[in-house]
Amino acid sequence: MSRPGAEVSEVAAPSWRRACADRVAEGARFCGAYASEPGGRRRWTALFAVGAETRAVWTPVSGAALPTLVDLIPAASWDEREAHDLYEIDFDGHEPLRPLAAHPEETDAWTVPVSGEGTYDVAVGPIHAGVIESGYFRFHVVGERILLVDPRLFHKHRGLERAAEGAAAEAGLPFAQRACGACAVANSVAYALACEAALGLSLPPEARRARTLLLELERLYNHLNDIAAICAGVGFAPGNMAFAALKERAQRLNRELTGHRFLFGSVAVGASAFQLSAVESDRAGGALREIGEDAALAWRELCFAASAQARLGGVGELSREDAARLGAVGPAARASGLAIDARSASPDLWYGSAFAPAGPPIASGDVAARLELRGAELVVTLAILDELLAEPIAPAAEAAGVGAAGPLGVARVESPRGETVCAVELVGGRLARVRLRTGSYANWPALARATAGNLLPDFPLINKSFELCYACVDR
């Protein structure tokens, strides 16, 4: 059942840290914080995940600085830096509060100062050598060894969330969808569910099946792409080409089913925008089984390609403790031994309570584990798709009202890169605020952490093993 709105508690600024610390002590997991200004009153909201529920705590923002959360909850670091840059909120105790979305000229203004014998900086980006999104990295190195990396993202900041403000819920969907081509379904479903939660709507089972099918189709082509990318990262061209060809087949199937290779336009707010006849779903099921068989063959070859495998172990290690502390999600978290997967607590989707995320054979948190995990998840995704396609997807009935509208709707959806959290605040049926905190956003600090101590030439490989988007971080 969809819950009307989200459970919200309001606290005064002096009680802010205490209230958030209490949530964590109760076992809730921090999953984002954002500033908003509904009806001209500015406030700062933190979100906490408890099973399938998301609880919000907010505090009004006056002119004064708010107490920081970063010492209690390091995962809130980027949220506070973003709110400082885009909403001019100061955080007491967050020292130094380095810019994230703002791009000052001076390097010292946004990088961590590093000094010592033989240390120097290597600047990379924002334009990269291949066909890659724009982002800038400042590596502090000794010889070839990376001491730490300062990523500077938001080069692609388009102000999508601001641009969506004032629109009706349905009209805001394209902004969430176009935040990222590769996570378009996850972002759209998260946005649609958040709006439906705020409006007190619940969708019938057919719409849940349709959305789950689309989410898994998105995961399929992304995981195939990411396996290809890791092969490319170690220069294993046969693996790269085999999985790139499989990804292409998956995207051609996407176009057959939805008319779009990235599944754009297949999700709607308060309705279902996708259906399949018995013939179509039968054909799609057959095509996916063929892709699955070829993927299994290619995967087996990859497992026995000793020269490729030898490059993966022990590279870009992310410890379980760091993954938890920094709020990692998705394949990155699971490869480090954290069993976080929004699919296991998604009553508004089809997964069911029995869903258990796949884990790698050894959760070593390195490039090898992140690759193994994707291989294991491909099998799960193909099995889910097979089950969903066993029956046609009928057009869904209208959404039913299940409760009163609330001031805030939140949804958490598992994208190919991890849990994506969308918060929507509606005032008079119009968007007062949309916040999209994607799996990529949650994982960037963990990627930077996993990079420290590695060799500079290994960074592209480490980066590809996380395969985070820049577009849905920058928005």
Binding site: I127, G130, V131, E133, F154, K156, R158, N225, R300, A471
Partner: protein
């Protein structure tokens, strides 16, 4: 590995790509000026075995100094304006600019106006236009090759 190579050979055979004729080449430098990443996925897909754009002599090169064409995706954000223009300045002449996708062409861009620098057409003179959201790998190949004929 031999299984993978056999698989690759099968994919190539099934794709039935025409043989490349004529000795031509074009070096392309891609700059993402704020895209949603879909255009990047499709551009990368042109190197997949089903399309293999390299057979036409088209190559993505690492440096703008080696490039004939600057291929731009995205609506040009304020934060990418400088890097985009620096890449263009670094190119040898003659040089061409290609706009890949609807955002680069300024159609129906979703964004807060203050975060965008200016439409690509106002910053650089655009020679090759490849519309689509995103254009498919076939459309990208066709668009670049048509541009190559005009160069």
């Amino acid at each position: 590995m031999f299984v993978l190579l056999r698989h690759l050979a099968r994919v190539r055979r099934e794709a039935g790509l025409p043989r490349h004729s004529g000795a031509r080449s074009l070096a392309i430098r891609h700059v993402d000026a704020g895209s949603c990443n879909a255009c990047e996925h499709e551009l990368a897909a042109t190197a997949a075995p089903q399309y293999d754009l390299q057979r036409f002599g088209l190559d993505i090169v690492a440096s703008p100094r080696h490039a004939d064409v600057l291929l731009v995706t995205g609506p040009v954000t304020t934060r990418m304006r400088g890097a985009l223009l620096a890449a263009y300045e670094a190119m040898p002449e003659p040089r061409r600019v290609a706009a890949l996708g609807d955002c680069a062409l300024g159609c129906g861009v979703l964004a807060a106006p203050r975060e965008l620098a200016a439409p690509l057409e106002e910053l650089l003179s655009v020679d090759i236009r490849i519309p689509g959201c995103p254009p498919s790998p076939e459309e990208i190949a066709k668009g670049i090759l048509a541009g190559l004929d005009d160069c």
